[in-house]
Symmetry: C2
Subunit: 71 residues, 2 copies
């Protein structure tokens, strides 16, 4: 397991769950109360967020931080 | 769910898994290749590590980053 792996797992899970909600990246940014440019960065694995940020992303999707990092 | 929650989940899981291995905090720090003062900070929920660091903690414990954040 490398750092790239966990970032890409987050990227894939976030995109899948966001699309299941039918939310655009902008809509999701609004719901998570994060900057809109942060979402595409995370969804391509280009960010290494802290666990507090991961929880902030998880809440509007109705999942846990752990689920956002899962395989 | 708040930021405090996810830090405390990590704290509890790390301590439990480290003790299951029979490792001191110093031994775990060596195995995870992190600074030894970082371990007690994490185990009292005083740190907000990035997901890449969480994966680095998970590897020597034989779990995933997601498992380290789980309830």
């Amino acid at each position: 397991m490398t750092g790239v792996d966990v970032r890409l797992r987050l990227a894939r899970n976030l995109r899948r769950l966001r699309e299941q909600k039918g939310w655009s990246q902008e809509k999701f940014a609004f719901e998570a109360n994060i900057h809109r440019t942060y979402v595409p960065d995370i969804e391509r694995g280009a960010r290494n967020p802290t666990i507090v940020v991961v929880e902030k992303l998880a809440v509007p999707l109705g999942v846990t931080a752990a689920e956002l990092l899962a395989e």
